[in-house]
């Protein structure tokens, strides 16, 4: 009974938690709200682990209201979704814990918005049809609009306005894409689409391809691919540390959507629409990588540097994905785990650093010593090594996977110099930031703002996740190989949703 409804729990838990948090809790509501939030995140973590173990036996399908696919709405957990759910759950707990030390008091309803944000993200990972992907995108967007504004301030306001207007236009394009695809195929279920699109001929296939490319535009906007990344640096650099850390998963939602839709529906076996958009992803990904590296070297604010590091990671992942092999999917997934944790950790470190430095904040200039100078310096050093991709941390292994995934001469000739060149620029930029902010400080007494140990521990936890990724790289990459196999051979997914024998028609 319980295990049957396991699939829907990652949606119910944050939704219930958010509704409970919205209740009036008397004199000191924040205490109760924090407790509910933390309990919800722990519960999510447990459910995510169980789902991951369960997904090893093949995809499980949850038909809402028992209406069967392709007519009903289904949630599907295969290995890929299960891993993304677990990634979100692992990220959410330390970030929320960090926020509970007072940052959630900066604006009203932070706690509830946080849970709604999780609901949207998890829903996007679990849903089995395109229209609900749109609905969950909207849920995560509307809470992200409010979260971006958290704390107020003029700079934030303008960055939020850009973000909101861009994403509203993006949503409209998403709906147009859905309309085009529905008009041709008569379905929006992912598995059913995979079957129907593959059998389209001539003119119909052309229209379906238009729909597919429109979808690519929307997902690229979410993921922040080259011509559509301009909203990201300002938005991420202006908002509070916690929100930026949580948003480390947001670009990954876009990347997940690209991986899901463009392997399942527009993958190798899709007849006239096969491998739609892969060429675009390759070139635009490389461009994003280059632009991100230039942004990193050109930024004079630590948070802006980290925001551009997000852009680099997006470029790296989508370029690698477009090489379309099991190896490249493995590389993308491993790098995704690594980059989510490390970006979140870096955003939190930058937040602490900015507060402790006082007036100079996170600008990369000479400033006064911080109260917890040594600890912060160590954490920044470790995080910098990890994100640059130097041994011994997971960044190194991730980059190794990516470089190995390039097979043909042309791929090697373009990917290697760009990945290694951007690594070099990131190294220069982060060493400059580190030495300015941690070594070249003014003499005299350090600042008097210090952070509670618990808050630093949460950052430590995220860094521990990086160490874990490094130590267990072998078994994790084995598991990810399984994901890559499933992604490249979607028949098991289609059969799980539509029943036996459907995919062979």
């Amino acid at each position: 009974m319980f295990s049957q409804h396991l699939v829907v729990l990652p949606l119910l838990i944050p939704m219930l938690a958010a509704l409970l948090q919205l209740l009036p809790w008397g004199e000191e509501p924040q205490r109760y709200r924090r407790a509910i939030g933390i309990v919800s995140c722990i519960a999510l973590l447990i459910v995510a682990v169980i789902l991951l173990l369960q997904s090893q036996q093949g995809p499980s399908v949850y038909a809402l209201g028992s209406w069967q696919a392709p007519f009903g709405i289904v949630l599907v957990v295969d290995k890929l979704s299960a891993l993304m759910v677990l990634l979100t759950a692992i990220l959410a707990l330390p970030v929320l814990w960090y926020a509970c030390y007072g940052e959630d008091n900066l604006g009203s309803h932070f706690q509830a918005l946080f849970q709604f944000q999780l609901l949207g993200i998890l829903g996007a990972f679990l849903t089995g049809d395109l229209f609900n992907l749109f609905v969950f995108f909207e849920i995560l967007l509307i809470s992200s609009y409010a979260l971006l504004m958290h704390g107020g301030g003029k700079q934030k306001l303008r960055a939020t306005l850009h973000y909101v207007l861009l994403n509203l236009t993006g949503s409209a394009v998403f709906l147009i894409a859905l309309g085009v695809i529905y008009g041709i195929t008569g379905t929006l279920n992912l598995a059913d689409l995979a079957v129907k699109i593959a059998s389209l001929q001539a003119d119909d296939a052309h229209i379906a391809r238009v729909g597919g490319l429109l979808l690519l535009i929307v997902f690229a906007l979410k993921a922040a691919l080259l011509p559509l990344y301009f909203w990201l640096p300002q938005a991420y650099a202006m908002t509070t540390g916690t929100v930026a850390a949580l948003f480390a998963i947001m670009t990954k939602v876009g990347i997940y959507a690209i991986i899901r839709v463009f392997t399942l529906i527009f993958g190798e076996d899709s007849g006239a629409s096969a491998l739609l958009g892969y060429e675009w992803l390759w070139w635009l990904g490389l461009g994003t990588l280059a632009i991100g590296a230039l942004g990193v070297i050109g930024s004079r604010d630590l948070r802006l540097v980290i925001a551009y590091l997000v852009v680099i990671s997006v470029g790296t992942m989508l370029t690698t994905f477009s090489m379309n092999s099991e190896r490249s999917i493995t590389a993308v997934m491993y790098y995704m785990l690594h980059s989510t944790f490390i970006t979140a950790a870096l955003f939190l470190i930058a937040d602490v650093v900015a507060k402790q430095r006082g007036k100079t904040a996170s600008r990369i200039v000479k400033g006064r010593k911080m109260a917890q100078h040594a600890v912060l310096g160590m954490m920044f050093f470790a995080a910098a090594i990890a994100i640059i991709g130097m041994p011994p941390f997971s960044g190194f292994i991730g980059k190794l996977f990516i470089l190995e995934a390039a097979r043909t001469g042309a791929q090697v000739a373009l990917l290697w110099p760009l990945v290694l060149g951007s690594t070099f620029l990131v190294m220069v930029s982060l060493s400059r930031a580190g030495s300015r902010m941690f070594w070249h400080t003014f003499d005299g007494k350090p600042g008097d703002i210090s952070h509670p140990k618990g808050q630093l521990i949460t950052i430590g936890l995220l860094l521990c996740a990086i160490v874990g990724l490094t130590i267990f790289a072998g078994s994790i990459s084995n598991f990810i190989n399984g994901i890559a196999y499933d992604v490249m051979h979607p028949a098991s997914y289609i059969e799980a949703v539509l029943g036996e024998g459907y995919s062979h028609e």
Partner: protein
């Protein structure tokens, strides 16, 4: 009917794109609202345009597709919430920054300060 419908959607979309490309928040919000009307109409038409039919199979020889209607309803609700939010946001931006320009008028100065 199809031609009139298509022209309506096209004109709405064209006007909305013109408005969205303006540099002030009010026309942009109006443009986005108009775009969502166009999109809703377009979504509605994806089930093909049928006159005087029930969305039920079996009672009569012909029927109209109920799914786009459900999709449009959802899209309208979501679009309504989003429009409300963007209007409030635009008003606050106008109030706090004293201008409804979407981009900073002196963006170069801002870049130099950072």
């Amino acid at each position: 009917m199809e031609a009139l419908y298509a022209v309506t959607v096209g004109v709405l979309t064209a006007c909305s794109i013109y408005l969205i490309l303006r540099g002030r928040s009010f026309p942009i919000v109006i443009g986005i609202t108009m775009l969502s009307y166009a999109v809703n109409l377009f979504l509605f038409s994806t089930g093909r345009l049928v006159l005087n039919q029930l969305p039920i199979i079996g009672n009569q020889p012909d029927y109209t597709d109920p799914l786009p209607q459900a999709l449009v309803l959802t899209a309208i609700v979501i679009g309504f919430a989003m429009t409300a939010y963007s209007i409030i946001l635009a008003v606050r931006v106008r109030g706090e920054l004293g201008t409804d320009e979407v981009n900073e008028p002196n963006q170069n100065d801002g870049e130099a300060q950072r």
